[in-house]
């Protein structure tokens, strides 16, 4: 009877092996940031980020392994080698650059203020004392903290938007495209002021310069041959891989 335990121990030990090897490209996404990453009816990860990750893997002749991971811990997961990279809509910031390396931007968007229909707030004066809901560890959380001291943090942007939709909090700051998609899917909220443009990059561990160079090379070729554009068209009806710079930063 006691021998029965051996297969279990072996299985556990097998689990300890690093998931990163040469043949696979393991990349993390939150799966809670529709339409950039979400899980479909079959439970598989889908979205703009996932398509980009899969395409990159294909071009590097590796097997794509998308992994769902809670957004607040993804950067640390990359840093600790839990996955090869994060294709998770990370805005490139100096704070994050202290911990991981970023590729060139693979799309451009920006934070936007969302409120319930009919309500109006203007940054920065009009939102000073307001209850702002954001997702944990996001650049929106950092941004919102500059305006107000009444922050409500959720594990995902969608949950924050849903809370706003059900009459909680005053406003949500999140990605403009994600907010627009949520409205399309029936949330009774509206997008107001945009608060600048953000550049989203793929995060890799700092010491993994080889992968970083490879990813940059493939991203550039995806830009020139129109692949990145067509992924954008698939999800948003337009190319989001080029900077628009029409958005003025809020001051």
């Amino acid at each position: 009877m006691r021998l029965l335990i051996i297969p279990f121990i072996l299985a556990l030990l097998a689990g300890c092996q690093s998931q990163n090897n040469e043949e696979t490209f393991t990349f993390a996404s939150s799966g809670e940031f529709r339409p950039f990453s979400f899980t479909d009816d079959q439970g598989a990860l889908q979205g703009y980020d996932i398509d980009v990750g899969r395409e990159l893997a294909k071009r590097m002749n590796k097997e794509a392994k998308p992994m769902k991971y809670k957004f607040p811990s993804i950067v640390e997961g990359v840093k600790n080698g839990r996955f090869d990279a994060a294709v998770a809509s990370h805005t490139i910031t100096d704070e994050r650059k202290e911990h991981v390396a970023f590729t060139i931007p693979y799309y451009f968007s920006g934070p936007q203020i969302f409120t319930r229909n009919g309500e109006e707030y203007h940054a920065p004066e009009g939102i000073k004392t307001k209850d702002i809901a954001v997702s944990k560890g996001s650049t929106y959380a950092t941004l919102a903290a500059k305006f107000t001291d009444k922050l409500s943090v959720y594990d995902s942007d969608i949950t924050a938007l849903e809370a706003l939709n059900t009459g909680r909090h005053d406003l949500v700051i999140t990605d403009a495209i994600t907010g627009a998609m949520a409205i399309k899917r029936g949330l009774k909220v509206q997008g107001l002021e945009k608060l600048g443009e953000s550049r989203q990059g793929i995060a890799v561990a700092k010491e993994n310069t080889e992968l970083l160079q490879l990813l940059n090379k493939e991203l550039k070729s995806m830009q020139t041959d129109g692949t990145l554009k067509s992924i954008g068209v698939k999800y948003f009806g337009r190319d989001i891989s080029v900077s628009t710079e029409i958005i003025k930063p809020g001051n």
Binding site: P72, E76, S152
Partner: protein, 222 residues
């Protein structure tokens, strides 16, 4: 693992934030345990009733609450009730925790009350006590003492379970830790710190339960 010096430094610098979180954790736990005790006692009596319909009601409640995860109950109260009534996050978390703990507490009370010897009821009756007097003066004080270790256990669980309120954006201890961890890219440090806070709170709580137990035993409630 973060170094001890770094841990200590962060522990001190984050203390104002975490104490605020600890206060909310304390409030959530206390409110939900008090309401939970009332709910628990109420359903324990329903379970003990000779009326079948009342047994069925309490059985339904206990099955429903014990059969579903607390996190689901919290989300249902937070998002599901908004069509009917808009309740605050604090109220949603408190009610969910109270309903959750109430089910377990009612089973603890039921067991404790049932463990009291039949002779006690008969003696009370022979002294001319009413049913209410019997329970208030004879049965419940003894049952409470017997239930105390299990109650203490449940209080500890309630305190730690209040961390699930983090998911509906309550700034209690756990949410403080994961938010700071995410902001500083340093989850492990903040998780260790928050563990220390919970540990201290749980130790204080179990000490308190012990004190009450000793005191009650001395006062001769048995």
């Amino acid at each position: 693992m973060p170094s001890f010096a770094h841990l200590f430094e962060t522990f001190v610098s984050s203390a104002p934030l975490f104490l605020k979180g600890a206060l909310l954790t304390f409030e959530l736990s206390l409110a939900s345990v008090l309401i939970g005790l009332a709910i628990g006692l109420f359903f324990a009596f329903l379970s003990l009733s000779k009326i079948r319909a009342l047994n069925a009601i309490s059985n339904f409640y206990i099955t429903l609450v014990r059969g579903t995860p607390l996190i689901v109950q919290i989300f249902v109260l937070y998002f599901g009730l908004t069509d009917v009534v808009q309740i605050s996050g604090f109220l949603a978390a408190t009610l969910a925790l109270a309903f959750h703990n109430g089910a377990y507490l009612s089973e603890i009370f039921r067991g404790a009350i049932q463990s009291i010897d039949r002779g006690q009821y008969e003696a009370a009756k022979s002294l001319g006590m009413t049913s209410y007097q019997t329970y208030a003066r004879i049965i419940l004080p003894q049952a409470f003492l017997r239930a105390l270790p299990a109650l203490g256990n449940q209080f500890i669980i309630a305190l730690k379970d209040s961390s699930l309120a983090a998911f509906i954006s309550m700034d209690e201890l756990f949410n403080m830790a994961t938010t700071q961890g995410a902001n500083n890219f340093d989850q492990m440090t903040y998780l260790i710190i928050v563990a220390v806070y919970y540990l201290v709170m749980v130790m204080a709580l179990s000490h308190l339960v012990n004190l009450v137990e000793v005191k009650l035993k001395r006062s001769g409630a048995t």
